[in-house]
């Protein structure tokens, strides 16, 4: 059995998990969630079965961390000094699309992120988020449909 050094897991999957955290939580909390995800993954890594799907395993951990972050925020709402007219525009070229993604309902946003950004099949997404495979497929389809409506492709950077 070949045991992969954890550094290789970070290199191969780190950017993917960061995009997923960014999509699910937004830029402010994405890096915290990423760090907590990989620290938890490092802790559990020696016990991970050799045949495990590392991608799905990491998204599962990230999903739980995202729920923790969201719950913590609900308990301790942060006062916001000045609410900007429109968020984003921080030099990230696709911030409009990220914004559109942020406005999706939770189920759709996670389904879109886990399927299109993490590349997981709907069956695995259903295992992570709960619910059926069909529900995960529908949520992702509805999410993409809304994204298309709110983010016309003519204006998209390609």
């Amino acid at each position: 059995m070949i045991v992969k050094p954890f550094e290789q897991v970070v290199a191969e999957h780190g950017p993917m998990v960061l995009r997923v955290c960014r999509a699910v939580l937004g830029p402010a909390d994405a890096e915290d969630a990423w760090s907590e995800t990989f620290l938890a993954a490092l802790k559990a890594y020696p016990d991970l079965p050799a045949e495990a799907n590392v991608q799905a395993w990491l998204v599962t951990i990230a999903h739980r961390k995202a729920i923790d972050v969201t719950r913590a925020q609900a308990r301790h709402p942060l006062p916001v000094g000045e609410i900007p007219d429109r968020p984003g525009g921080t030099g990230v070229p696709d911030s409009d699309l990220w914004d559109a993604l942020a406005k999706l309902p939770d189920k759709q946003r996670t389904a879109v992120a886990y399927h299109y950004l993490a590349g997981l099949p709907y069956r695995e997404i259903a295992e992570i988020t709960g619910g059926s495979t069909d529900a995960a497929r529908r949520a992702a389809a509805d999410g993409v449909k809304t994204l298309r409506a709110t983010y016309p492709l003519e204006g998209a950077h390609s």
């Binding site: 059995m1 070949i2 045991v3 992969k4 050094p5 954890f6 550094e7 290789q8 970070v10 290199a11 780190g14 950017p15 960061l18 995009r19 960014r22 999509a23 890096e31 990423w34 760090s35 990989f38 620290l39 490092l42 802790k43 890594y45 020696p46 990230v92 070229p93 696709d94 699309l97 990220w98 993604l101 879109v112 299109y116 950004l117 993409v144 994204l147 298309r148 983010y151 492709l153 998209a156 950077h157 390609s158």
Partner: protein
């Protein structure tokens, strides 16, 4: 169907360095960093340096294939391995001093867990061979307590997990020729020439 999605991933194609650093710092703090490693450019090529919390555990030459060495460390010690240079600061400083001629002996914590038995007793003797001096495989065998184990000394030197720092390059054939070296004969020549200067 997914035409809109390719626009999304652009933001993070590579992991920001600060996130990697944050992970290694947290891992160290939580006691989850079983093996920290980095590479160092030296006159004998790029050296891979790896340390457990106990000390330096592996030094590997470029020709030993760093990827393969890390995979070996993952199965021999722990897969909790991260590129985390901070733990290697002291040994890097001493190696820099050694390669610029300002240091003749290393004083860093060593973790000998990758060597056992007779091989370990050979390695424990090696630092007694002074900088700029050499011993033959036969002399080392006697010093390690088994005068007849000349071939085993050769094996112990060839498999030395901590070359350069544990100076197996100071062991040469009795006819004075260099003999084998994990870093290649050229690396051995470079080290001995440097020390003789």
């Amino acid at each position: 169907m997914i035409d809109i999605i390719p626009s999304l991933p652009v933001a993070y194609e590579v992991l920001p360095d600060r996130l990697h650093e944050r992970l290694t710092t947290a891992a160290e703090r939580e006691g989850l960093l079983d093996v920290a490693y980095r590479t160092l450019d030296t006159p004998v090529g790029s050296l891979l340096l790896a340390a457990t919390p106990q000390g330096l555990v592996k030094v590997a030459f470029d020709r030993q294939d760093h990827e393969a060495v890390l995979a070996d460390l993952a199965s021999a010690i722990s897969p909790r391995i991260l590129r985390a240079p901070a733990r290697l600061d002291l040994v890097v400083r001493q190696l820099d001093e050694y390669f610029t001629g300002g240091r003749r002996a290393f004083d860093v914590p060593l973790d000998f867990r990758l060597a056992r038995g007779f091989r370990l007793s050979v390695l424990e003797h090696l630092p007694e061979i002074a900088y700029g001096h050499t011993e033959s495989y036969a002399q080392v065998a006697t010093a390690a307590g088994s005068p007849k184990a000349v071939r085993a000394v050769g094996t112990a030197c060839a498999l030395n997990p901590l070359p350069v720092v544990v100076p197996c390059h100071r062991v040469v054939r009795s006819d004075g020729s260099y003999g084998q070296y994990a870093g290649g004969e050229e690396a051995k020549r470079t080290l001995l020439t440097m020390e003789a200067a």
